[in-house]
């Protein structure tokens, strides 16, 4: 009798477990199923490491916590390394067959040096997302765009009132801003899309006039932002998200969006011969999943997707993104060349 009861209880338990498990699986979203498929191989590797030149790859500690919760057993780490050093290191390490990192997150133009050398693993978009047509995969390696930086302007909210702010790019030439603008002497990225809209002649006339405004010259984002924060400059042009580093700390700085806003995509490259090739695929898949998009989207360097915090913030401020944020590699290279030419035209640092 006891044996029969025990057997019955076991059968009921097993059936219930299988049913609930099956229901849970059936309730899972398609993107979760993609992640589930990639997880076991990634877990077997147990670790993943990235190089990134700018921010926190998984959308701050909060994003990292979400990733860890979803994928226990995978240790995530990243090394912040500027784009003048990371590619050279990756090339040297890969040539020597001694890779220490699995992926590199940066601008596509920077990645080109590694792509040209065949140092990037090929990806299959269908393996990484349930909506491959939705995302931008670049080059024939199908490298995914996982983030978008906005290149725009910022102003000191204590020293400039909203009503005084420039409304168009041309308004920056108003004499009241003379000596009050902070600009990267190498050419601010926030202007590099304008020749594609205005044409060359108008653009270069504008750039020369901008120099006559006697900007306070800088050569890095940090210094530009510091000039605005301290009030030495009132408006700065740089590539930066205010969300995590500035607004979260209550700093007196806000976006000044001059439309259309220049947007620069960033991609995540899986490095050929990396120690954890499956784990890096999982990271990419997670970044393209709604959970990843939302986590990184809060920070201001994730994908500009409706419904994510950063996108909605910018939209509320009236932002219109240049080409909807979808640039081709040729457009990006052209914009890079424009930037160099701005630096040369100004002649402050050459």
């Amino acid at each position: 009798m006891k044996k029969q009861s025990f057997f019955l209880a076991f059968v009921i338990g097993a059936v219930t477990t299988l049913t609930l498990g099956g229901m849970a699986q059936a309730q899972k979203q398609p993107w979760e199923k993609v992640l589930d498929r990639l997880y076991p191989a990634a877990k077997a590797e147990g670790q993943v490491t990235l190089y990134m030149s700018s921010e926190f790859p998984l959308g701050s500690k909060e994003g990292e916590a979400k990733f860890k919760k979803r994928f226990p057993g995978i240790e995530f780490s990243f090394i912040k390394l500027s784009r003048s050093k990371a590619p050279a290191r990756i090339i040297l390490e890969t040539r020597a067959g001694r890779n220490t990192v699995d992926g590199y997150w940066d601008y596509p133009e920077t990645a080109k040096a590694m792509i040209d050398r065949g140092l990037i693993s090929k990806l299959n978009p269908a393996e990484l997302t349930d909506q491959p047509e939705k995302w931008n995969f670049m080059f024939d390696h199908n490298l995914p765009v996982v983030g978008q930086f906005i290149n725009t302007f910022y102003y000191n909210t204590k020293l400039v009132s909203k009503s005084e702010l420039p409304k168009r790019y041309e308004d920056l030439l108003d004499p009241k801003w003379k000596g009050k603008l902070a600009m990267d002497a190498r050419g601010p990225r926030g202007f590099t899309h304008l020749p594609l809209i205005w044409g060359e002649e108008k653009f270069w006339r504008y750039i020369k006039a901008l120099k006559e405004q006697n900007p306070i010259w800088t050569r890095r984002c940090t210094t530009t932002m510091d000039k605005v924060l301290t009030g030495e400059a009132l408006i700065g042009c740089t590539t930066s998200s205010l969300e995590k580093r500035h607004k979260a700390k209550g700093q007196p700085v806000e976006y000044l969006l001059l439309n259309p806003v220049s947007v620069k995509p960033t991609i995540l490259l899986p490095i050929k011969g990396s120690p954890h090739p499956n784990a890096i695929k999982l990271v990419i898949a997670w970044l393209l999943s709604p959970e990843g998009v939302e986590a990184v989207g809060k920070t201001g360097y994730g994908l500009l997707q409706p419904g994510t915090g950063f996108y909605e913030t910018l939209k509320a401020l009236g932002a219109e993104f240049f080409l909807g944020g979808k640039l081709t590699i040729d457009q990006m290279i052209a914009m890079g060349k424009t930037r160099k030419k701005i630096g040369k035209t100004w002649g402050i640092i050459k």
Binding site: S82, S84, A88, D226, S240, I349
Partner: protein, 582 residues
């Protein structure tokens, strides 16, 4: 004397004599460390590297030299750099001589504390100092300008001081360079035998004239060594001119190297950077040859002899207040203001000019953010271990190199000395690439990804400073001391350890301190070589600074390094004074 030298030569014959073995050891180590970066500099300069690394296959070309030498800008910028470098070195050396004379040779009250305070800014990266000065003296809302305008009723909303100018650059460069120069010459002043001055004074020459005519010429090796090292280094300095010169329209030579190695996209152009680096390389060669020619009669400068060496302190008398006043003025400009602004930035949630309103925002968030960084604890341990090992290894190797260069009696004895100095001319990024390439491609030592690769890189890099420092100190010691020991049957090596090294202790300690502090704050080389397993604090935090918002973190790190350097100096000085209580 000649007989004793001959005797010493007879006593150490054959290829296995102690000094030859030391020479072979020192030369092998120095060549192993220094030659690869120099070789890569030369190779890179002959390779077109617009889209490839110099270590990748590619044809040899003169295109970098054509580009460097055919641009009129190169000469103009080199001229600007020379003006900047020369002015800074002369200014800093003059202040260093005054300060070291006051702290080592006079009865200045509290001089040990003064000496320790003078060295505090050494732990702050040049860029941080320059940024600090923009907060203090930018013409728009720099603190000093705002206060001056209020005090003196100056209208117009700008000035009266403008840090964005050539004089501003030289001012900050001079203050920034002074502590390192002070360390470089302090040992020589400390070792100086006042008998020479006393003899001069006994002959009726005034004290000040004696100082000028006797002391200064006898200290020429140390002063000249410091001068040429810093002239070569300042030509390569980019940080201060980049921040302060940019708005004054003053461009310097090192800008070219920076631009070549920091592209917006694609790979750095190491070849072009090396082409520019070769100009510095040739300059360094000329400087070292000039130095050697001037130092030919080494015995002339030997002031530490066996004849009753008795240091004597010069009483300042009524000049004491003037001396204290000048020390206080210098400390205010070079230590109090920069350290204050650094501390202020580190306590603010975002960079802001000091004000009553901003007092309410004081927070330790930058420090807690620093502590919360991933790999931070391991990085702190690595940093301390690397700093101590590098300082000790560098100083031993440099002392041997300098000793061989001064005392060596066979061909090629000064080769290590020459190599260490011209190494100064290799741009830091090219140097770091060479080290990474060697230990990745030729795993002679499997140290890539360990702290040892950083130890080797830093040791190689800092030897140029410490060898110059020790060279000046070794020349000061008269050969008769070593000869006396050897004629008593003591080997040359034991003599070095038991006689020479203790006499070199003040310079050795100063060099050790300089290297230790620089190893703490080193960034350019570290960021090229660190991985998850050998992270160091400065590299972790410096990369934060590359992106907007990291100034507070860098300030917090610099404050910690400044405190560490203060403690190191304080403890070191105490130990030194216990050894040499005068």
């Amino acid at each position: 004397m000649e007989a004793r030298i001959i005797l010493s030569r007879v006593k150490l014959p054959g290829i296995f004599s102690a000094d030859k073995l030391i020479f072979l050891f020192t030369t092998s180590v120095v060549v192993y460390l220094v030659l690869p970066p120099i070789a890569l500099l030369i190779l890179s300069s002959f390779k077109s590297t617009a889209d490839r690394l110099p270590v990748e296959p590619g044809p040899l070309t003169l295109s970098n030299y054509v580009q460097v030498l055919s641009t009129g800008d190169t000469y103009l910028l080199f001229q600007n750099s020379l003006i900047y470098a020369f002015s800074c070195v002369v200014g800093a050396l003059a202040i260093a001589i005054l300060m070291v004379w006051l702290t080592e040779r006079t009865d200045l009250p509290g001089k040990n504390l003064v000496f320790t305070l003078l060295l505090m800014p050494i732990a702050m990266p040049g860029m941080v100092k320059a940024i600090g000065w923009t907060f203090l003296a930018n013409p728009t809302n720099g603190l000093i300008n705002v206060v001056s305008r209020e005090l003196f009723g100056i209208s117009g909303g700008r000035g009266p001081f403008n840090i964005y100018s050539l004089s501003g650059m030289i001012f900050v460069g001079t203050l920034s360079m002074m502590p390192s120069l002070l360390l470089m010459i302090a040992g020589a002043f400390r070792n100086f035998d006042p008998a020479f001055e006393e003899a001069s004074e006994a002959s009726g020459v005034s004290r000040s004239k004696s100082q000028l005519l006797i002391t200064m010429p006898l200290l020429r090796p140390a002063l000249l060594g410091a001068f040429i090292y810093y002239l070569a280094s300042a030509l390569d300095d980019f940080q201060i001119p980049a921040i302060l010169g940019l708005n004054a329209g003053i461009r310097v030579f090192s800008t070219k190297i920076f631009l070549a190695t920091h592209p917006d996209d694609g790979l750095p152009d190491y070849g072009l950077a090396s082409g520019y680096g070769m100009i510095l390389f040739v300059t360094a060669m000329i400087l070292i040859v000039l130095y050697r020619r001037m130092m030919r009669k080494k015995q002339k400068y030997a002031v530490v002899t066996g004849k009753g060496y008795r240091p004597r302190l010069i009483p300042l008398g009524r000049w004491k207040h003037v001396a204290l006043g000048s020390v206080a003025l210098y400390l205010t400009l070079a230590v109090v203001l920069p350290v204050f602004i650094l501390f202020w930035i580190s306590l603010q949630p975002y960079v802001s000019i000091p004000s009553v309103e901003a007092m309410g925002r004081v927070t330790l968030s930058n420090y807690s953010e620093m502590l919360a960084m991933s790999h931070f604890k391991e990085a702190v341990i690595n940093t301390i271990v690397i700093s101590l090992i590098v300082a000790t290894a560098t100083m031993f190797l440099s002392t041997l190199t300098a000793w061989m260069a001064v005392r060596g009696r066979f061909p090629g004895h000064s080769l290590p000395d020459l190599l260490t100095f011209i190494n100064t001319a290799v741009p830091s990024v090219v140097f770091a690439l060479a080290i990474a390439f060697i230990y990745l491609s030729f795993p002679i030592l499997p140290i890539y990804g360990t702290i040892w690769i950083l130890v080797i890189a830093y040791t190689t890099r800092y030897m140029s400073y410490s060898t110059r420092l020790m060279g000046g100190a070794v020349i000061q010691i008269h050969q008769e001391l070593e000869e006396a020991s050897q004629t008593s049957g003591v080997s040359r090596w034991t003599t070095f350890l038991r006689v020479t090294l203790p006499l070199l202790l003040p310079s050795f300690f100063n060099g050790w301190l300089w290297v230790a502090v620089h190893a703490l704050r080193e960034t350019t080389i570290a960021v090229m070589l660190f991985t998850q397993t050998n992270a160091v604090v400065a590299a972790l935090i410096w990369e934060e600074f590359q992106f907007s918002g990291g100034t507070g973190l860098v300030a917090a790190m610099s404050v910690c390094f400044t405190v560490a350097s203060f403690i190191l100096t304080f403890l070191g000085r105490r130990a030194l004074l216990r050894q040499q209580p005068y």
